[in-house]
């Protein structure tokens, strides 16, 4: 396993990787991981034109730059493991293996959308791949994932749950309540921080007295680990170890993936503020693009150009088909607005 950055993962407090030979992806998994990373990238890159065409309303938060963290984490999970995500919600379902068409239709508010047009860009939750919520309330998904862990324990399954959240979300007190709950009851939960260095226009360096969110875990009896979020295999290795630990009933872990957001905080919301240098963005795009790093690593691992090229064209087609599917899909019927509020409506709507 080659290192594309100086940063090998650093373990804090207690060891969650059990041996010196971290779990690695098999060849088929590597292809699947690359496909998912490319799908996120392709999906996100398709959006600006659709937004410009007025087809996608509301604010859109892109995961470009963070694909390795998302896919590395999700590849360590089974289909029946639960995850929760954030307002930056497109990457999580795709990383977990969701079909693109219902996601794209959702962005366009269509009846065929994964959330029937009721969720939109900040809420692309696809339950069929284990997503139980994408919370646009920063930090809101963390307790839900903790509950999914409790549920697995009570029901006696060996499922685990994983909660994605940002560096900004790490300042919500609820994270610490949940770390503690998961620790005392040894819940099978992985707290996964996508630390992209910024919360909207606010640099993490101004809102965290010390830079490592993973260091906050130890005080709650939870092992913390920092990993290079641009390196697919490292994220996979460290998450797999946390997942195994959780499945063995040894409790939660906190993983901090250091990553970077290549785009603005949101497309469609203009915030005039110079909170990061153009230079810095350029440097990341040039040197730390997870797809570029991943492709090089795959070639080195023995995958051929042809093999990768095939994946690339397949993804391109799938994205184009998703866009077409979405554009052709009907809008929801206004009269259906009452649907899905209650599971058991009683005299509703009045």
């Amino acid at each position: 396993m080659m290192r594309r950055s100086g940063v090998k993962y650093r373990l804090l407090e207690s060891q969650i990787v059990t041996d010196d030979q971290p779990m690695t992806l098999r060849a088929d998994q590597r292809r699947e991981a690359y496909r998912r990373m490319l799908s996120i990238r392709g999906f996100e890159l398709a959006l600006p034109r659709r937004i410009a065409a007025g087809e996608i309303p509301g604010a859109v938060h892109s995961s470009v730059g963070q694909e390795a963290a998302l896919v590395g984490a999700c590849m360590a999970l089974r289909d029946d493991d639960s995850i929760t995500g954030t307002h930056r919600s497109h990457g999580h379902p795709i990383a977990k293996g969701a079909r693109l068409a219902p996601l794209m239709a959702e962005l366009m508010g269509r009846a065929t959308g994964v959330c029937k047009g009721r969720g939109g860009s900040m809420h692309l939750a696809d339950r069929s791949v284990g997503i139980i919520g994408e919370s646009a309330i920063v930090g809101g998904g963390i307790p839900l994932a903790t509950g999914a862990g409790l549920s697995a324990l009570v029901r006696g399954t060996d499922q685990v749950s994983l909660s994605f959240f940002g560096d900004g979300a790490a300042n919500q007190g609820v994270l610490y309540e949940c770390l503690n709950l998961a620790a005392i009851w040894k819940l099978p939960v992985i707290f996964f921080c996508e630390n992209n260095g910024y919360a909207a226009t606010t640099p993490a360096s101004t809102t965290h007295a010390q830079p490592d969110i993973a260091k906050r875990a130890g005080g709650f009896g939870v092992p913390g680990v920092i990993v290079d979020g641009q390196a697919l295999d490292e994220v996979y290795g460290v998450t797999s170890a946390a997942v195994e630990r959780a499945r063995r009933g040894e409790g939660p872990s906190l993983i901090e993936a250091k990553t970077y957001r290549f785009d603005e905080h949101a497309i469609g919301v203009f915030i005039p503020s110079h909170y990061r240098e153009a230079d810095e963005v350029e440097r990341y795009r040039r040197e730390r693009d997870p797809l570029v790093l991943c492709r090089a690593w795959l070639l080195e691992a023995g995958h051929s150009e042809t093999e990768l090229g095939e994946i690339e064209s397949a993804v391109e087609r799938t994205v184009a088909e998703a866009v077409e599917f979405a554009r052709k899909s009907p809008h929801p019927d206004p009269a259906s607005v009452w649907d899905y509020l209650y599971s058991n409506p009683i005299g509703y709507p009045a």
């Binding site: 839900l144 009570v154 503690n180 509020l341 009683i346």
Partner: protein, 322 residues
């Protein structure tokens, strides 16, 4: 129907016990609830069915919601209602919205119980009645049963319901007793008001524990020859507007009684409903007998006069009859 004499508090425990026996996905979460399992009031329980929580209302409430989404039916005991503000982000932004926002991909069968204290010198931070704020949140169900039988039957319905239900309990009801069905499938439906006493001159709509004053008021009025109908709303969301409107259509006069603060409370909604849909039948102003808009003081001398009571209800009825 076989019955047994139960207090309101024991009705809660019986409902929980029966539902936990019936369905292994029902669990309890709350602070200091270890004593339930220890005391055996809930029978022999798998330790994984009761979770004695740290003081982390937001965290464990959200945890219960996540557990509900993934196959359990948690009952969260928030103990005193004034603590619910800590948890209300998860209740409002997640429990009430997540099914809708996911286009029906999930169900949220979770129950939040909380007790409301008054006349106990608990002061402002332990005396709130926050149901009005939740009535304004679509996606929740909100109930406030006033008798042991209703409590048992409605709590059981709430636990079996696939939507989030908030249960508000007046703690001065805890000791009240009545005959309660022992049928393990005894259910009182959510969303139905109960006419506790029939009458023809005036309708008294009572919210939660105010029934303890509304019925004596009706009796007092009967002695004066005034026939009051007493409607116990029981369920605030869904609110049984039809029963209220039908009663007012008959009596043509309405007094609403509620311990909550006056402005934008449950009584306001009931009054507004009748002013909108029952106006033609009304012959007098709709009076609200509520706690005035002031925080609850510690001193019993200051506290006691604030609440609705029999005499205030009787006085309001006299007023609408002129």
């Amino acid at each position: 129907m076989a019955t047994t004499e139960l207090t309101y508090l024991n009705a809660i425990l019986e409902a929980e016990k029966e539902e936990m026996e019936r369905d292994s996905s029902v669990i309890l979460v709350g602070e200091d609830i270890a004593l339930y399992s220890a005391s055996g009031v809930l029978g022999k329980l798998d330790p994984r069915r009761t979770w004695n929580a740290p003081i982390s209302e937001l965290g464990f409430s959200g945890m219960a919601i996540g557990a509900a989404i993934t196959g359990l039916r948690p009952i969260v005991d928030l103990t005193i209602a004034s603590f619910v503000y800590l948890a209300c982000d998860q209740i409002i932004n997640q429990a009430a919205k997540i099914r809708f926002m996911t286009g029906g991909q999930v169900r949220v069968p979770v129950v939040f119980r909380m007790s409301m204290w008054h006349n106990g010198a608990n002061a402002a931070q332990h005396s709130d009645r926050p149901y009005p704020m939740f009535m304004n949140v679509p996606g929740l169900k909100v109930i406030a049963p006033a008798t042991p039988s209703d409590m048992k039957g409605m709590l059981k319905s709430a636990i079996r319901d696939d939507d989030p239900v908030l249960v508000f309990e007046d703690n001065d009801l805890w000791g009240k007793k009545e005959a309660v069905s022992t049928d393990p499938d005894f259910l009182v439906p959510l969303g139905k008001a109960a006419v506790r006493r029939e009458g023809s001159d005036v309708t008294i709509v009572s919210v939660a524990g105010c029934l303890l004053h509304a019925l004596p008021a009706a009796e007092q009025l009967a002695k004066e020859g005034i026939s009051a109908e007493v409607v116990d709303v029981r369920s605030l969301v869904p609110l049984d507007r039809a029963t209220i409107l039908a009663s007012v259509a008959k009596t043509r006069r309405l007094v609403v009684v509620d311990y909550a603060h006056r402005t934008a409370g449950a009584a306001a909604e009931i009054a507004a409903t009748v002013a909108e849909e029952g106006f033609e039948t009304l012959r007098a102003p709709i009076l609200r007998v509520t706690t005035p808009d002031v925080q609850i003081p510690f001193s019993p001398k200051l506290e006691r006069p604030l609440y609705p009571n029999r005499d205030k209800i009787v006085a309001a009825v006299h007023k609408v009859l002129h």
